[in-house]
């Protein structure tokens, strides 16, 4: 069977490096040379300024140099910013040579309210194969994904963001890691673990003394704000740009939404995640530390509170003493799979999975275009809200999503149809099903905020009580590990071994309960 992962690009036969090839994994059985007309149809700067003019760069630094040379002096594309990240970067900088730091550079060109137009990712500015380029297509909307392979940089067009949503290419090739066609920055928020940032510098000692990357401008002149700048100037605007373009087609005149399930999967399921941590460095942990646990581990506060206006969670903290006992009891360590092992947690403590920002955007846009109502969104997300990611109960509701629906001028029957389908199933089924849970939420009525806030308030108080006890927090620690294991097992973005800590905890189907305790031991 053909390789349909993002590694498919590395195993293709060498074709003509002087031409752009189309290889949308899943849709194309193999790379094929694109015609000049097909190349001209691509509306992004990489295609229009370079490929269409017969300029095929052979390295990442050449891509940037050629693009900047192709535009006038005051063109925003001349504005370049480089960023650095690597899962082993803090370990390798402290103990040079101990691990592969898995350094990558992300370099952007352009700036504006929608973020940069070009993103380039490569481990080495001079490498030919394995360069990834995402460039905004001003004609079609969405990002065009490009990938180079081989010693002479054969370039392939790997699809547009819209291909992430097509049945043939969904979840394949680049869309394994970009499931909704969006930009990926999994460590999106402060302290941006693994990124050079104000919270954690990546020192030049991360490279061997004779490694030319030490002196390369991508490293020497890296953006001082690092992850902070990338989050606000690049990642969030780029994700928002694509979400708006994707949903723009549903605004205004009458349209058929052919696959509303794709949207609802982003709301009810966990197609991808972001990673969040406390702000406490593992090595600075003391018994007196108060670890600021990410609230999104306990509840999807970004959707429930920020979007739907429900009660914000209080600060959830745990003492360094309790946390340190967990590190020891559960044998927490970092391993690179090649013999390196270090006791303790990731650079910042308590790395957890949270609902991805690109999925939050899908919720916001679905509300904005009128595909779903606020009440429906609240009732859906208040099914098993104690498990903001990997909830089988919310996922089960996907079976009721209509195959297609219509939308016109901000109005759609979709919400009514979905509610009816779930309520019918609840009527027919036993108590305790996800459908029954939804029906109970729905019964609260249009003025749901007060009652939902009471549910959340009771849960928050219960969590706060558990956090004061060793046994209570151990349950959360094990739950966090189980969610990490599910992430590692199901998502290719967990590819780097030093991304996640290892423990002696085995999966047992743990899930959070409404009373703040963890089911499954």
């Amino acid at each position: 069977m053909a390789d349909e992962t993002c590694r498919a690009f590395d195993s293709v036969a060498p074709f003509d490096p002087k031409a752009l090839h189309r290889f949308v994994v899943g849709a194309d059985p193999a790379p094929r040379r694109m015609s000049p007309a097909e190349v001209r149809a691509l509306g992004d700067p990489f295609a229009s300024l370079l490929i269409a003019r017969g300029k095929l760069p052979i390295s990442g630094e050449q891509v940037l140099a050629m693009l900047k040379a192709a535009v006038p002096k005051n063109d925003p594309l001349r504005e370049q910013h480089s960023f650095v990240l690597g899962e082993g970067s803090q370990i390798a900088a402290a103990r040079p040579g101990s691990v592969d730091p898995t350094i990558r550079f992300v370099v952007t060109l352009g700036r504006g309210p929608d973020g940069p137009d070009v993103f380039l990712s490569a481990a080495d500015p001079r490498q030919s194969g394995g360069i990834e380029v995402m460039a905004w297509d001003r004609k079609a909307g969405g990002f065009n994904f490009y990938r180079s392979t081989g010693n002479r940089a054969m370039w392939m067009f790997a699809g547009n963001s819209r291909d992430a949503l097509r049945d043939s290419s969904r979840g394949k090739g680049p869309f394994e890691s970009h499931p909704s066609g969006s930009l990926l920055m999994k460590e999106l928020k402060s302290p941006w673990i693994n990124w050079h940032s104000p919270d954690a510098n990546i020192a030049e000692t991360v490279f061997a003394a004779n490694d030319p990357r030490r002196k390369h401008e991508w490293f020497v002149r890296k953006e001082p704000g690092g992850g902070l700048t990338f989050e606000f100037e690049a990642a969030r605007p780029a994700m928002t740009r694509w979400a708006k373009a994707r949903f723009a087609a549903l605004g205004g005149k009458a349209r058929t939404v052919t696959r509303p399930r794709h949207i609802m999967e982003q709301i009810l399921d966990t197609p991808t995640v972001n990673l969040s941590t406390t702000h406490i460095e593992s090595r600075a942990l003391t018994p007196a530390s108060q670890l600021d646990l990410p609230p999104t581990f306990f509840v999807d506060s970004e959707a429930l509170s920020e979007v739907l206006g429900l009660r914000f969670p209080p600060p959830f903290t745990v003492s360094g003493k309790i946390y340190a006992k967990c590190l020891s009891k559960f044998d927490v360590r970092l391993e690179d799979g090649e013999g390196f092992s270090q006791k303790g947690d990731t650079h910042f403590c308590f790395l957890v999975t949270e609902r991805a920002f690109e999925d939050q955007l899908a919720l916001r846009e679905a509300l904005k275009v009128g595909l779903i109502t606020k009440r429906l969104a609240a009732c859906l997300l208040m099914v098993d809200p104690w498990n903001p990611v990997f909830s089988k109960r919310r996922r089960a509701l996907l079976r009721h999503v209509p195959a297609t629906t219509a939308i016109a001028k901000g109005k759609s029957r979709f919400s009514a149809d979905l509610v009816s389908a779930i309520l019918r199933a609840a009527d027919r089924g036993p108590a305790g099903t996800p459908e029954a849970e939804f029906a109970n939420r729905w019964k609260v009525g249009p003025g749901f905020a007060g009652e939902f806030n009471r549910f959340l308030g009771r849960y928050y108080a219960a969590v706060a009580r558990q956090l004061r006890k060793q046994a209570g927090f151990e349950g959360y620690f094990k739950l966090a590990e189980e969610r990490r294991q599910e992430f590692r097992a199901t998502m290719p973005i967990a590819e780097f071994p030093l991304l996640l800590p290892r423990t002696n905890i085995t999966a047992s189907g743990r899930r959070m309960r409404a009373d703040g305790t963890v089911e499954g031991g």
Partner: protein
């Protein structure tokens, strides 16, 4: 580059007594020269032209407050209300219209020491600045105590909306930055291993609050350079500066790029000391009508989250063999 003739006034601004200001900086640096062999005074020692000047940057919003409250909303509310909570070498004030919508957010990184210098050397200029940037009613007597000493916190520089002249939070001083930079040049060792992680370093060497954005970032970057054997000092002009706010993703009612609403009042684009985020009246909307992540800007803290603050150091290539000290030493 030979020895620096003298330190420049903040952002290279015109100053009636530039020698006095430079002498203040030299006096602030001097106590650290012995005991910190990799920290130097550029007015006394040459700096070669190839010396690097790394920019150390962090976000203006107080990280410790965010961590303590655990809530963006709560921390924005608190920080807007009380400048003593704004402890990242940047302070801001928020002004609103009759509908409580934000009309202007003014940021400053101007160090109080410079305004003390003005009080001592050019009181007319001092009062003029207050009148220009805070209130035309400002008088010298409002700014001095009975002994004639300049009051960093006074009738026109406090937490009231619009009353922002310069930094006043206790830790937001040039002396604090100099102290941090000088002391961070000492490599540290713990249990036989170098201390390199930011918070660990700050805690080990007593370099401030490990949960702030600024202290750990400055300390870590300086310490990394020092461990390589380099010599370090402040870049000229010495001071803390504002970066251009990260406005991508801000949605304006007319689609304009919000970056255009950043107006520099003191300094220039390269060395910004005071700037405001304000929509020109001709556009007929105000800052409070701009949205971030779908929410209108209702707090100055929302913008402070995206305002970089920076300081530059000079790193002179060296081949010193630094002798690490244990924590606390």
């Amino acid at each position: 580059m030979p020895k620096l003739t003298r330190f420049s006034a903040p952002a290279g601004l015109r100053d009636a007594s530039p020698g006095d200001w430079s002498a203040r900086i030299v006096a602030a640096i001097s106590p650290y020269l012995s005991g910190h062999p990799q920290f130097y005074d550029p007015t006394k020692v040459d700096t070669p032209p190839n010396a690097q000047q790394p920019m150390l940057s962090w976000a203006a919003f107080p990280a410790a407050l965010r961590i303590e409250t655990g809530s963006k909303l709560q921390s924005w509310k608190l920080a807007d209300r009380d400048r003593s909570l704004q402890d990242e070498y940047c302070e801001w004030t928020v002004e609103r219209n009759s509908s409580r919508k934000i009309t202007r957010i003014t940021f400053t990184t101007e160090v109080p020491e410079y305004w003390e210098h003005l009080a001592a050397t050019d009181p007319d200029r001092l009062v003029g600045l207050y009148r220009e940037f805070v209130d035309p009613r400002a008088k010298l007597s409002h700014l001095l105590d009975r002994q004639g000493n300049y009051l960093r916190q006074n009738r026109w520089n406090n937490s009231r909306p619009g009353c922002l002249a310069h930094l006043m939070q206790a830790n937001n001083t040039l002396l604090a930055a100099i102290d941090l930079i000088a002391r961070a040049t000492i490599p540290r060792i713990k249990n036989g291993e170098p201390v390199i992680n930011q918070q660990e370093l700050v805690r080990c060497a007593g370099l401030g609050n490990p949960l702030r954005n600024s202290d750990p970032q400055i300390a870590s970057a300086i310490n990394i350079a020092a461990r390589e054997g380099n010599s370090i000092t402040l870049a000229d002009p010495p001071g803390l500066h504002l970066g251009r706010p990260l406005t991508a993703g801000m949605v304006t009612p007319d689609g304009a790029d919000a970056a255009r609403f950043w107006r520099i009042d003191r300094g220039d684009a390269e060395h910004t000391l005071r700037a405001r985020f304000e929509v020109p009246a001709a556009r007929r909307y105000v800052v409070g009508d701009i949205k971030i992540d779908g929410q209108p800007i209702s707090f100055g803290g929302q913008v402070a989250d995206r305002v970089p603050v920076w300081v530059k150091a000079v790193v002179k290539k060296g081949n010193r063999k630094p002798r690490p000290r244990p924590c606390g030493g």
